[in-house]
């Protein structure tokens, strides 16, 4: 469990600003959501944190030390499970790339199949999984790398609403059980309020931090509770403000 602090991150592509002075922080074991209009630069922010895009300015520290290439576990928007690998080998991919032998990598991924609701599908191919299972497999692939902080880019965005609700409750349970520190991009305000300790609201392009809203409701929470409704309305107003 690590504390992550992003300070003054800026990025421009060509002559277009995409990120302007973005700052946020997450304490150990917290989940911090990033919401903002589509195309505002949320994915670019994560790409910068994951070391895929070189930011022009700004610092990222973990427990006070500069972040490195192995700080963040990155789960992109698409599940990107490879059809030529079994589900187990897909989840072991990150470890294999990190130099862990194939057999040892599988050994480390295998015990997670039960808690991730994937038991019995180790030898299946990705196309045999349902949408929710594919996202859980992609998350397992991210988690098993044992990075300090998880970056989840709209993990449930492509799911139907019933599956999505189930996944949100499942993620909440898993997170409190394993104590992950998570940064989460979402366009679902309800999801943000339900899962987060803090919500960072970005404005339209270029992305600047418009507001940071603390969600201090005690856990376990309920989806769409009356207490949450006020926070949801507040976030919606922030997103809509000109």
């Amino acid at each position: 469990m690590r504390e992550v602090r992003v300070e003054g991150l800026s990025k421009r592509f060509g002559d277009r600003d995409v990120l302007v002075d973005v700052s946020l922080h997450a304490r150990p074991g917290e989940l911090v959501s990033v919401i903002g209009p589509s195309g505002c630069g949320k994915s670019t922010l994560f790409a910068a944190l994951a070391g895929l895009v070189e930011p022009d300015r700004g610092t990222v520290t973990v427990d006070g030390r500069p972040a490195t290439g192995t700080t963040f576990g990155y789960m992109p928007q698409k599940d990107l499970l490879f059809p030529w690998r079994t589900v187990l080998d897909n989840t072991a991919l990150g470890l294999e790339i990190a130099g862990v032998g194939r057999r040892a990598a599988r050994k480390r991924a295998e015990p997670l199949f039960e808690p991730f609701g994937l038991a019995g599908f180790e030898g299946s191919r990705p196309f045999e999984l349902s949408g929710g299972m594919r996202q859980r497999a992609a998350l397992l692939r991210t988690v098993v790398q044992d990075r300090d902080v998880l970056l989840l880019d709209e993990p449930f965005g492509a799911l139907d609403s019933l599956t999505r609700t189930g996944m949100q409750e499942w993620l909440e349970g898993m997170r409190s059980q394993f104590g992950w520190t998570v940064l989460l991009i979402t366009h679902d305000i309800r999801e943000a309020v339900y899962l987060s300790d803090r919500v960072v609201v970005l404005g339209p392009r270029p992305a600047r931090v418009r507001a940071v809203v603390e969600i201090d409701q005690p856990r376990p929470r309920e989806l769409a509770s009356a207490a949450a409704a006020a926070r949801e309305a507040e976030l919606l107003a922030l997103l809509r403000a000109e």
Partner: protein
Amino acid sequence: MPSLVVVAVLVAVWQWAVTAFDVRPQVLPSPLRVVEQGWLFRDALWTNTVPTLQVTAVGFAVSLVVAWALAVVVDFSPWLRRALLPLLVASQTIPIIAIAPLLIIWFGFGLLPKVVVIALVTFFPVAIGLVEGFSSADREASNLVRSMGADRWGEFRYLRLPAAMPSFFTSLRIGITYAVTGAVFAEYVGARAGLGIFMNLQKNSFRTDLVLAAVVVTAAISVGLFGLTFLVQRLAMPWYAAERRRA
């Protein structure tokens, strides 16, 4: 299989027409005669089939090695990609018909000129299939493996190489049929043995039936090798057929 029905109908029409119009076998033998004479000369056909198979195998193997080497190099170097791909396309404008006799003059009647012809006709589809296959890898998938710590080599090994396999096998199928045709053509221009030179000699002695018998053998080889690529693909990427069925 519908294509077998079509072949059967065509052969029947051919047989009927040859008998009905009393065509001389030197011009067009009946299919029955082709089969009869082919069977009678089966030893000669077989001794000429073996060298053709050898030439095809060696030529295509060389072509594969060169195509792989070039495609991998091009995948790693954008500069070489810009430098070599246009040359590759230009190589396809070489008229093999004009070049093949020259190759005999330069390299003799042995294996080399035939290998060169086969490589020239098959190298292009395989190399292009690989180059495009490597590039078919999802950009976001590249980001994923890089976030996992992969360097360019890791990206190639874990993503671009396996992603290229469907495209590779498609080009392999095209290449292998060209290889057989290329082998027969190269032998036709000049060889000590092989189906190509066999056809040439029989044509010169007006044995049209034996020329066609050799054509049938060539077609059978092509179809057989074509089928073999599916078998290899099944073994190399068992997931592919299942996924396609599902889609």
